[in-house]
């Protein structure tokens, strides 16, 4: 418990009659890179929304960056400024009158505070982040004109411009092509290694998991079902139970993925 940056104890979250989390406990140390894997509807995204204070806790205690979440403890805006969140690819109207640099600047808006306008220092951070994700050349393009992979790079830049302490990635590579997917995964790993962030990466797709996660958390039906190192968790046997597929089929599909 001592230097946990995230501490979830017995968290229960429900939406109407659906229980999304049924008593989940998880400790995350500062600087860890955690992959959360499980089928659709396992509660992976819900865990992330609890951590940035958007999800509503029914029960349990969640402490993020030393701050207790929920129970009338503020509206969570303060915490959200310190937690970056990248969602899966959004459908952006190609005519939306917002350009790439402006989108990245939005990451600074929360920290800037009300009534303040972006200053030179803020634009400098924006340009640094665009450079980091390799999107400088598209800075003045309307955001809706970018490809899916480019939009996700911009979303990551926006998130980093926020200067967060925790990075939450919710299926950032969903619906991206193979090349864009592997590029984003490399970028995420690079950012984690160079910035000293704590990263939680959620995916249902095993091929969309950055290499060398410090820890893998397997989720099923609103519970953490198993956790440990990549080698101990991503075995054919465990995945077979996790996804309800016979072991030999899991094995065959994973072999196909490697050769594909």
């Amino acid at each position: 418990m001592s230097d946990s940056i995230i501490s979830i104890k017995d968290a229960v979250v429900s939406f109407r009659e659906d229980i999304a989390l049924r008593g989940v406990s998880l400790e995350v140390q500062s600087g860890e890179f955690i992959g959360i894997v499980g089928p659709n509807g396992a509660g992976k995204t819900t865990i992330l929304t609890v951590l940035n204070g958007i999800g509503k806790l029914r029960h349990g205690r969640v402490r993020v960056l030393g701050q207790l979440i929920g129970n009338g403890n503020g509206n969570g805006h303060g915490l959200r400024k310190r937690v970056g969140y990248v969602a899966q690819l959004q459908n952006i109207d190609p005519r939306m009158p917002v350009n790439v640099r402006e989108v990245v600047m939005m990451g600074r808006y929360g920290a800037m505070g009300i009534f303040h306008r972006p200053g030179k220092a803020d634009w400098k951070i924006v340009d640094e982040m665009l450079d980091l994700v390799g999107m400088t050349h598209l800075g003045s393009r309307p955001i809706g004109h970018l490809s899916g992979g480019e939009q996700q790079r911009v979303a990551i830049a926006r998130c980093l411009a926020q200067k967060p302490e925790i990075l939450l990635l919710d299926e950032p590579t969903a619906s991206l092509d193979w090349r864009a997917k592997s590029d984003i995964l490399e970028l995420v790993r690079l950012i984690h290694d160079t910035s000293g962030l704590t990263t939680l990466f959620v995916t249902h797709d095993l091929s969309a998991l950055p290499v060398a996660c410090d820890r893998i958390v397997l989720m099923k039906e609103g519970l953490i079902w198993s956790q440990g190192t990549t080698v101990t968790q991503l075995t054919d046997e465990k995945l077979s139970v996790l996804y309800d597929i016979p072991v030999d089929i899991v094995r065959r599909r994973r072999e196909q993925e490697v050769t594909a």
């Binding site: 940035n52 958007i54 509206n75 805006h77 303060g78 915490l79 959200r80 400024k81 937690v83 970056g84 969140y85 969602a87 959004q90 109207d93 190609p94 005519r95 939306m96 009158p97 917002v98 350009n99 402006e102 989108v103 939005m106 990451g107 808006y109 929360g110 920290a111 800037m112 009300i114 009534f115 306008r117 972006p118 309307p142 955001i143 004109h145 926006r158 926020q162």
Partner: protein, 282 residues
């Protein structure tokens, strides 16, 4: 050309109303267009109209009724838009038709002549009082002021509410603020533009501006400009050709939109997107 038009007190009032109403409505329109909620605007304007009819029937200030009922509509529509749990089109459609039904029910219940009801339905920019103009000026000033002060919060909320929330912007408050302003604007312009016609002055200038720019700041400015232009040109046309002013303004704003579509650089985007991908078969 005959410039006697500027000499009349009622015409001066009408021009002021056109400028102020054009600004207020077209800025609200930017929210409506960019947040993809035109139907919400329609429901709100009919709610305001129903509230005004309620006021006329029960004998209190129709504008107060308009404001209160449009706030009520915002309180019902807001959560639907916010949570997206019901299909907003369906629920807003139900509210919209209910409000129209209530409006005509209240008109039917009204004793005596219905002329004041019809005035609010069609609007008459030429019979504005000083009080109407002051109310409209306050609403327009508040809207412009809020957009300038909270531009970055508004921009982020319009772009993506979930994203705005996740970077620490109170996006839900901003959304309700926008709905509240929509109600206030519709109320303040009800008497001059009318409950039925108001919506085109909200939608058309913003939709026209949307065709022409990729900058949200420019879109606000262009939309306000188109709004003012539509009202003034419409007003002059109605004066010189003896046409109903509200209707002429609405038709003018539609023509402005049509011209913007024709000259839109964004149409190229659509063509470019539709272009089939060439397959490389070698």
């Amino acid at each position: 050309m005959d410039f006697s038009i500027f000499g009349y007190q009622f015409m001066q009032n009408a021009i002021l109303t056109g400028v102020l109403g054009g600004i207020a409505c077209s800025i609200i329109g930017v929210f409506v267009v960019l947040m993809h909620m035109p139907f919400i605007g329609v429901a709100m304007s009919h709610a305001a109209f129903a509230g005004a009819m309620l006021g006329l029937w029960l004998g209190f200030n129709p504008l107060l009724g308009a404001f209160l009922v449009s706030l009520l509509a915002a309180a019902i529509v807001g959560p639907l838009a916010d949570r997206g749990e019901l299909s907003p089109d369906t629920s807003v459609g139900i509210i919209f038709s209910l409000m129209l039904g209530l409006s005509f029910l209240f008109i039917g219940l009204m004793p005596g002549t219905k002329s004041s009801a019809l005035e609010l339905l069609w609007g008459s920019i030429l019979t504005n009082t000083r009080g109407d103009i002051i109310l409209l000026a306050i609403v327009a000033a508040v809207i412009v002021g809020l957009v300038v002060l909270f531009f970055k919060e508004i921009q982020a909320t319009i772009f993506n509410r979930d994203m705005a929330l996740s970077v620490g912007i109170p996006a839900t408050i901003i959304l309700y603020g926008i709905l509240f302003l929509t109600g206030a604007t519709i109320t303040a312009t009800l008497r001059s533009i009318g409950g039925i016609l108001i919506f085109s002055l909200i939608l058309n200038p913003a939709a026209a501006a949307y065709q022409l720019t990729y900058s949200m700041k420019k879109m606000f400015v262009l939309s306000a400009l188109f709004g003012v232009l539509s009202s003034l040109i419409g007003l002059f046309l109605s004066y010189y050709f003896d046409l109903p002013s509200g209707a002429t303004i609405v038709v003018t704003s539609s023509i402005v939109f049509l011209i913007a579509v024709i000259f839109s650089p964004k149409r190229k985007v659509k063509r470019w997107q539709q272009k089939p991908v060439q397959e490389n078969i070698t």
